[in-house]
Every structure is written in C-alpha cells, then in structure tokens.
C-alpha cells in the first residue's frame, strides 16, 4: 500500500498500463504541453498534472498533443479503437463533451450493437468534471447522467485514489468504451492505493459505511460530503449506510436494494440538476423494486434546475452540501 493522491494514482496507472500494453495511446489538448514553443515538449505535463513524463517515456506516436478539436479528438479515439488500439482521449473539461458529442453518442456507443456484435471499441474518454472551483456554467458540469442514459457506454466515477487506480486499470483492460469521470476538486485527495495489479470490477458499489437507519446513495465528490453528513448524524445516534456507486453504468442495483430493504429510507445525492438525473434514476429503481420496504418518501439532494453560476455564494447555493444532505436524512427519518 502506498499513500497517494487521486492525481498520482491516475498518472501512475497510465504509466504502468502504457508500459504493459503497447497498444495504449493518449490523445488530448496539452497532454504533453509546450509543443511548438521555446519551452519544448513537456514544458507542461497536462494542465491537471495527470500526464507528466508520459511523452518522455512513450514518445510522440503514443502521447499525442492535439489541436483544440474535441470532435476530432474523440472521433480519432473511436477510429483508433476500431483499428485495434486502446486510445485514451482526454477532455480537459467534461463540458466539452458538447463539442464532441456525436462521436460519443452516435458513434462510439453504437458501433458494437449496430455492427452485429462484431466490433469492439475500447476507447477510454477521460472527462474532468464537477463544480467547486467557481468555473461557471461551461466548466463545472457533471454530465454523467446524460452519458449513463446512453446504451453502449460504461460510466465510471472514482471517489478515492484506490478506485482511481482500480477503475482506470479495469477500463484499460476491458473491451468496451468507458467514460472515465475525474472530479476536478478531488485530484488532491489522498488515500491508500494497493500496490501491483489492482483492478476494480465495474458495477460493484463500495459500502463506505453501514449505519442501518437510512441509505445514502451517491458518487464522486458527493461521497465525501455524504460522509460528513453521516458523521454529524452519527453524533445524534442516527446511522447511515453510505453507498459510493463507483460506476453508474453498469449499476450495482443489488447493493442499493439490499441497503434500502434494511433501512427503509433512501436519500440520493447527485451533483447535477434534478430532472432525468442519476438521483431520479435511482429513485425509480427503488420505487419499482423495493417499494414495499420504503418507510418514507425518498429524498433527492441535487442542484436546482439551472446552469451552474460563477459567484462563490451562488455556486455554494447550487451544489449539494453536507448540511443539505443531513437535513434530507432528518426529513426521511421524520417522515417514517
């Protein structure tokens, strides 16, 4: 076990997997940085610090700085995957998925099915997502629900360094397209990471803690916020199950249903607007498959139905907070 940040877990996993598998290549804006400048290549190793040293080790055929052309970046990943390689394409901000959406939505997600199961498209798209840095409406969104809704894509959201390593390794060794979401405020989070080969199966949620009175289902940055809320509640003798989904497609239905059947109370925490959200999806799952065990109406803790604002006070009001999660748990307990 080593203690490291999520940033380093991702960087080291890329190093290790590229070493192991010569078919892996990385594409993105400034993943090398400094090309065509006096500073030279690798003057900057990716603006998030997740690609340092890759270019020096693996060279320009495998670590490729691209122009600002998200459609072509993701489309090139699609083509490279069809041609038998394992491309990793980085979207510097998940919001730019908008620029490249056709290549994900109509192409990568559909190849295998459309072509009668004859193809594989093992493209890993890394998307840097989430609010919390006052980067406003076009640089803060959590677009995982939209991509979870699309059949053909796997959607992964590590919340710990160990999962960053385990899930990225799994993504790079699997044969399906993976949307790998990295929360911009979590890069510096430290934790233990298993040494050597570490794969985390998709569709296997992490039971962060067991408490028995209410179930909190969440992912990404909201895992930590939910734990904070659960700490507060624990001081008042209220125990929460906190479930970190790890992946939203595939979804670990069993973990959710087992917990709700035991607690009878559901709170879903989702860093996105409420409509057609992950929160709504989990709620529908529980309503259809565990209705009789519910003691109270579920609570959804999400942002409002609005874009994400810039000013600190407004962004804070937008993002689900530990306080809002705590209040939601108290409401489900009060209701039954």
């Amino acid at each position: 076990m080593a203690i490291m940040t999520i940033r380093d877990a991702i960087l080291q996993t890329l190093h290790a997997e590229m070493e192991r598998d010569p078919d892996i290549l990385l594409l993105g804006e400034d993943v090398v940085g400094g090309n065509g400048t006096a500073g030279g290549p690798e003057a900057i190793g990716g603006i998030w610090g997740t690609s340092g040293g890759l270019y020096a080790k693996f060279g320009p055929d495998r670590v490729i700085d691209t122009p600002i052309s998200e459609s072509a970046i993701v489309g090139a990943a699609a083509g490279a995957a069809l041609a038998g390689k394992r491309p990793v394409a980085e979207l510097m901000f998940a919001d730019f998925v908008g620029v490249s959406l056709d290549q994900i939505w109509n192409q990568i997600a559909k190849f295998r099915y459309m072509f009668g199961g004859k193809t594989r498209c093992p493209a890993v798209i890394r998307l840097v997502y989430g609010a919390g840095m006052n980067t406003a409406a076009q640089h803060s969104q959590s677009v995982y629900a939209m991509l979870t809704a699309m059949p053909g894509l796997k959607v992964v959201l590590p919340a710990t360094p160990a999962d960053a390593k385990g899930l990225l390794t799994e993504a790079l060794r699997g044969d399906d397209p993976v949307m790998f979401f990295e929360h911009k405020t979590l890069y510096g989070v430290k934790g233990e990471v298993p040494d050597g080969d570490h794969r985390q199966r998709f569709g296997e949620a992490r039971m962060v803690r067991e408490g028995g009175d209410a179930t909190i289902v969440t992912c990404g940055r909201m895992v930590n916020f939910s734990e904070k809320a659960a700490d507060k509640l624990a001081a008042d003798g209220i125990g929460c199950d906190v479930i970190d989904l790890r992946t939203t497609s595939p979804l670990d239905e069993e973990a959710i249903l087992d917990s709700v059947e035991a607690t009878g109370r559901l709170v879903v925490v989702d860093e996105s607007p409420p409509r057609c959200s992950l929160a709504a999806d989990i709620c529908a799952l529980v309503a259809t498959k565990a209705f009789s065990s519910l003691k109270a109406p579920p609570e959804l803790v999400t942002g409002p139905h609005s874009p994400i604002p810039f000013a600190r006070e407004l962004e804070r009001a937008w993002v689900p907070s530990p306080q809002k999660i705590e209040a939601a748990v108290r409401r489900v307990l009060a209701a039954g």
Binding site: G33, P67, S69, Q138, L314, A317
Partner: protein, 324 residues
C-alpha cells in the same frame, strides 16, 4: 490617416483602459478574492480597439474566454465588468457569469464564451439577422489561433461564404493556445488567413500590436463587407503579455521572451511613439489620459470590493423567460 485629435485620444483611452484593467486584475487575483479562471487580454489591445472603433453600437461582436478587451472596446461598462469579475450582484451578468461570460447585448456585445470555437457560428447567425434588417450592420467573431482549429470555426466560415453573410472572422494570433505553440497546432504553417481564403473569402493580415495598421486594414475589410461582398477574415499577429490564465507558470516561453515582447511589441508604446513623431498629440495629454484611467480602475475595484454579493436565493432565477 484622417483620425481627429478626439478620435486618437479616445483610441488611446480605450487601449489604456484595457491595459490598466488587466494589470490591476493581475494584482487583485493574487489576493485570492477573485474566484474562477481569469484570462487577461493585455498585449492585444490594438486588435480589439482598432476594430471596434469602426463599429457602431448596432454592429455585433462575439467574443472568447479572453474577452475583457473586446467588452471594453465595444463599450461595456467597466465598473459593472469589474463587479462581474468579483462575482457581485451588480455585475454585468449579476455575478452568474464571471470573467469568461461577460455579455451586454445593449452595446452589441453578444457574449464572451468559455467554449473555444463556440462563437464563430453565432457570428454567422448574427450576420444573417443583420442582413435581414437591411441596415448594413455586420457581425464579428473573435477567435484565437487555438479556436481556428475547431470544426465549428471551419463550418462557420464555409456557411458564411455560401450564405454571403456579412460576417467577419477576426483571428487573433497570439501564437499560443494554452501551452501549445501555433507552430505546432496550426497546420497551415502558422498562417490562419490562408484558411479563410481557402474557404472562399477575402482575407487580410495586419500587425495586431499596431493600432494604426489594424485600423487601416480593418477599414478596407469593413468597406468590402458593408458593400455586400459577403464575409471576410483578418489575421492579426499579436502578443499576450500574461499567462494563458492567471496562475500559469508559462514554462513554454523562451528566455527573455516576455521582456522582449513588452519592449518591442507593446501597442501602447507604439501608439505613443507614432503620435509624438507625427506631432498629433502631446505626450502630456496621454499622461493625463493614463491618470484618468487609473482613477476609473481604482474606483471600479473599490466599488466592486464593497459591493454586495448575489443573494443565494436567486440561484435558479433567469433560467427561462417564463416557465409554466
């Protein structure tokens, strides 16, 4: 050059306002009070001002993530902009947008844009709308040497040509897109204007660190577009004096590069030298403008700092005009 004394003083004032606005932000950001990403326009003032000085308030511009200069040149209120960047309720966009999303449609500023390449297609639409009104208005898309590589920019150029839209593509080549050089990322040998020509429009090139060259070249271009000849493009060779964003360590710069460009390619210095040489303006007049501008920027910062933050209860306001 037939610019009047007033026009010259005005041009200098607008460029100095942008410069001092940005230099002040560079200092204010260090205090940690300003949130989010801020991309400073200093170094490129001659482009925004040399172009917008020839536009009426009805002409429209579409800007970029590096938009403060375009906003000031087009006539946005400097104090409201400062409040926006400080995230205040009295900001241009009520503190919801911040530095990357300043817009003021009342002065024809259709919006800064956080999506690189997001603006060019919108300028085509604005130009088609302008043509419908028949008043000879034009719409301008500002794009960088990075944005010129987006498919949206290519599509916009072709669509403007085939629809003969009075759209103008302004390419501000400051030689960097974030940390990558135009020598690497612009495949046509650093030449962006030739792309516009390949799409079938006339393109000009000018020194974007020289107000007069930018102004003169743009005048020809505007005559061409306003005469109903369809779209046109201009590439301006310019410089950015600060990092890509505030906090950028700029390890991609050559040794002494910043000192050199500040010495040799400063549009304000060049402007001062030209008007002094031609005996058009007295340096003391320009010093007085600098002082006035400094007072304005100081007041803008003091007021922004003291201004109230937005009410968190308004977080989901203004999503729709109406919703029922």
């Amino acid at each position: 050059m037939q610019l009047s004394r007033e026009e010259l003083v005005g041009a200098y004032r607008r460029m100095a306002t942008i410069r001092q606005f940005e230099e002040r932000l560079h200092e204010e950001i260090k205090t940690g009070e300003i949130a989010g990403f801020t991309h400073l326009y200093a170094g490129q003032e001659a482009v925004a001002v040399g172009i917008c000085d020839q536009l009426s308030v009805e002409d429209m511009i579409v800007s970029t993530h590096r938009g403060h200069g375009h906003c000031i040149a087009k006539g946005c209120d400097v104090k409201a902009m400062m409040q926006e960047i400080f995230g205040r309720a009295g900001g241009t966009c009520k503190g919801r947008g911040g530095s990357m999303h300043i817009a003021d449609l009342s002065v024809g500023m259709l919006g800064a844009n956080g999506i690189v390449g997001g603006g060019a297609p919108q300028a085509v639409g604005a130009a088609l709308a302008a043509r419908l009104d028949g008043k000879g208005r034009v719409a301008i898309a500002f794009s960088g040497d990075g944005a010129c590589n987006q498919g949206t920019t290519f599509e916009a150029m072709n669509m403007a040509v085939v629809t003969k839209a009075p759209a103008i593509f302004v390419f501000e080549n400051n030689h960097y897109s974030e940390h990558t050089g135009d020598a690497y990322a612009v495949g046509t040998a650093r030449d962006i204007a030739s792309r516009a020509e390949a799409f079938g429009m006339k393109a000009w090139r000018a020194n974007g660190c020289d107000y007069f060259d930018t102004y003169e070249t743009m005048r020809e271009l505007l005559d061409h577009v306003r005469a109903g000849n369809g779209p046109a493009a201009i590439e301006l060779d310019t410089e950015r004096f600060f990092g890509h964003f505030e906090g950028d360590p700029q390890r991609y710069r050559g040794k002494g590069e910043l000192d050199r460009i500040r010495e040799e390619r400063d549009c304000l210095k060049a402007f001062r030298a030209k008007v002094a040489e031609a005996k058009l303006l007295d340096p003391a007049d320009l010093d007085a403008v600098d002082a006035e501008v400094a007072a304005l920027i100081e007041a803008a910062v003091v007021e922004a700092r003291a201004a109230p933050a937005p009410d968190p209860a308004t977080v989901a306001d203004d999503v729709y005009v109406d919703y029922y």
